[in-house]
């Protein structure tokens, strides 16, 4: 780990300077995480979660510009701009919602993040927990149903160094909300804990569409209580490296999790999209749909894994990974995984990799649509299958 620390010394110094005024208990937790880094190896191709990504791109410390975002175009009722230090709320804050800086969380409210698979490969998660200097704690009270109220969380971070962000999203019992996350670019390591109470419902959409050489590494942990329902839709495009990890845990029964991803990579982009769902309780449902398109010399790694514990009967799992290669040099690695340790389970998984279907292209052309537009229509048709919300 020393090599990574040495390479990232500037980032560490930067982050520590920004957290000097934080509560003692939180600084202590960060110090402990920093201490644990020695036990982790630098991400490399020998690791399962990094096998298909160029982790060398993590060493980048160049200034990477972010896209200018027009908040009006986000069509949100409330925008929360996460800055390198603190946040800014644009729009009216409703009384059922509380947003604070992450360091203002009480110690007893802190939710630890623990990777349940490939633990020794989670240096980036550990690094984030050691160095995060920004983020919000967002709480929705119980019995507040506002599915039509759109909260946009916008990452409006500095561009001159790696940025480490950690968020808490806590949705109360029987509450509903829609949250969109928008990444603008830069060099960002972002983590979050999502905690949904009983009967809570969340629709979440994440946009990480980069024109620049942006790098984004994320780890999202989702905890679902009884009857909770989370739908998450990810739109990812470009950047030099995107490495996303979602970990889902069912804490009780009759909850649902659905994740859709559209990953589009071109040039030399590397995108990894990893979803691990742990069915430790009975009667829970998970659905993962990925639609990925690789062009140029890009690489995409899709991995959906479901682990069904002994006794977690009546679990329902669906994994549907489809991929299109648009060039000879592009690569896609697609891996659905099921580890089932009980009998009463309905599980389905599928994965395909191929080119655009020529008979469909011809069909569109035969109606007068030129080849380029026909391809665009087919790609839109392909990615539309992943829309879960």
């Amino acid at each position: 780990m020393a090599g990574l620390i040495n390479n990232w010394q500037e980032a560490i110094n930067n982050a520590k300077a920004l957290t000097s005024g934080w509560p003692q208990w939180l600084q202590q937790k960060q110090a402990e995480s920093l201490g644990r880094l020695d036990g982790f190896a630098i991400p490399n191709r020998k690791m399962e979660t990094w096998r298909y990504s160029d982790s060398g791109k993590l060493q980048n410390t160049d200034v990477v510009s972010s896209a200018e975002l027009d908040l009006a175009e986000l069509d949100a009722d409330l925008c929360i701009l996460i800055k390198s230090q603190g946040f800014e709320a644009v729009g009216e804050m409703p009384d059922w919602l509380q947003v604070t800086d992450i360091h203002q969380l009480a110690e007893q409210e802190w939710l630890p993040m623990v990777a349940k698979t490939h633990e020794k490969e989670q240096a980036m998660l550990q690094l984030n927990q050691a160095l995060f200097h920004a983020g919000v704690a967002l709480k929705v009270k119980n019995n507040e149903q506002h599915a039509d109220f759109v909260i946009a969380v916008v990452y409006d971070l500095a561009e001159n160094a790696w940025q480490f962000v950690h968020n808490h999203f806590e949705i109360g019992d029987n509450s509903q909300v829609t949250i969109n996350e928008i990444h603008a670019g830069g060099l960002v390591n972002q983590t979050a804990v999502w905690s949904l109470g009983r009967d809570a419902q969340v629709k979440k959409t994440v946009w990480a569409q980069f024109e620049s050489e942006a790098t984004l590494v994320s780890f999202n942990q989702v905890n679902l209580n009884q009857n909770a329902d989370m739908k998450t839709m990810n739109h990812r495009f470009g950047g030099t490296l995107q490495h996303h990890n979602q970990q889902v845990e069912f804490l009780a029964e009759h909850a649902k999790f659905a994740a859709g991803s559209v990953n589009k990579a071109n040039g030399n982009s590397h995108i990894a999209d990893i979803v691990n769902v742990f069915h430790d309780k009975k009667h829970n449902t998970s659905e993962v749909i990925h639609r990925s398109i690789a062009d140029g010399q890009s690489q995409i790694f899709n991995n959906a894994k479901a682990v069904v514990a002994h006794g977690a009967d009546h679990s329902e799992i669906s994994q549907d990974l489809k991929n299109i290669l648009l060039s000879d040099d592009a690569k896609v690695f697609s891996k659905p995984e099921l580890e089932v340790s009980t009998d009463e389970v309905v599980a389905a998984h599928g994965s395909t990799i191929g080119a655009l279907d020529e008979s469909s292209l011809f069909y569109l052309q035969s109606r007068g649509i030129d080849a380029k537009q026909a391809k665009d229509i087919m790609i839109e048709s392909f990615v539309a299958e992943a829309e879960v919300c």
Partner: protein, 246 residues
């Protein structure tokens, strides 16, 4: 309208069409019948410009243009329409969007003004009513979840909207029950006009009970071996194709 001269074509290494000649004049309906593997569908695919079907000799002239030199979308804009034997499904794209995109692409190619959405909506609503089809078809993704009959009806509906000069129906009757067959045939008959021609590829005479052809041709081993009027179809229904081997 269409003049096919001594056409040879192959798919992969296999020679399919072997010197086929056919002339179709404006307003005429030609039925192409023949045994399995004779090259009937290949003829339709050659005219529409399907990749992987390679024309090795011969020419196809459509109203003074070399059809074989055009891309599939250019052929469509010139007025060629192929009703597919197996229409493909396009998830996520509804029929209305698909058809408007296709129609406006053709109009653009011909130097005509694109049709705005309100005018298009009025036009397709009227068409679907005239053709006795259900208008929920417009909102559904192209052919997704359609039964075999619905797919064929959708092909005929597309033909009605795009108003081609030359319509090629590739076994549009296969898999249709009698009611669906009548709907499809009515749709075709509504589109018959002095300046529109049809090439109807079929195995069975029953479609020709509803769409009366001007000519019936027997295609065997890659070329037309016999031509006649509608009575030839009745003869084939009675005798089959055994005589071809005699």
């Amino acid at each position: 309208m269409l003049n096919i001269k001594d056409i040879f074509a192959k798919a992969g290494d296999k020679d399919i069409l072997k010197g086929l000649n056919l002339e179709v004049k404006p307003g005429e309906v030609h039925a192409i019948m023949g045994p399995n593997g004779a090259g009937k569908s290949t003829l339709g695919n050659v005219l529409a410009g399907m990749p992987h079907v390679e024309v090795t000799a011969g020419s196809v002239d459509m109203q003074g243009k070399d059809l074989l030199a055009l891309e599939p979308e250019e052929r469509a804009a010139e007025g060629v329409f192929l009703a597919f034997q197996y229409p493909v499904e396009i998830p996520g794209v509804n029929n209305m969007y698909f058809l408007r995109t296709a129609l406006n692409a053709q109009r653009k190619y011909r130097g005509e003004e694109e049709m705005d959405s309100a005018s298009f909506l009025r036009m397709v609503k009227q068409k679907i009513k005239d053709m006795n089809m259900r208008d929920d078809l417009l909102k559904r993704p192209v052919n997704v979840g359609f039964s075999g009959g619905e797919k064929k009806r959708n092909e005929v509906f597309q033909m009605g909207v795009l108003e081609p000069k030359l319509a090629i129906l590739d076994e549009t009757d296969s898999g249709l029950d009698i009611d669906a067959l009548k709907i499809v045939a009515d749709g075709v008959n509504q589109l018959r006009s002095p300046d529109r021609s049809f090439v109807i590829i079929t195995h069975y005479q029953r479609l020709l009970d509803y769409i009366e052809p001007d000519f019936v041709h027997v295609l065997a081993d890659g070329k037309i071996v016999r031509s006649g009027d509608k009575n030839l179809a009745l003869e084939l229904e009675e005798q089959g194709y055994g005589w071809l081997n005699q």
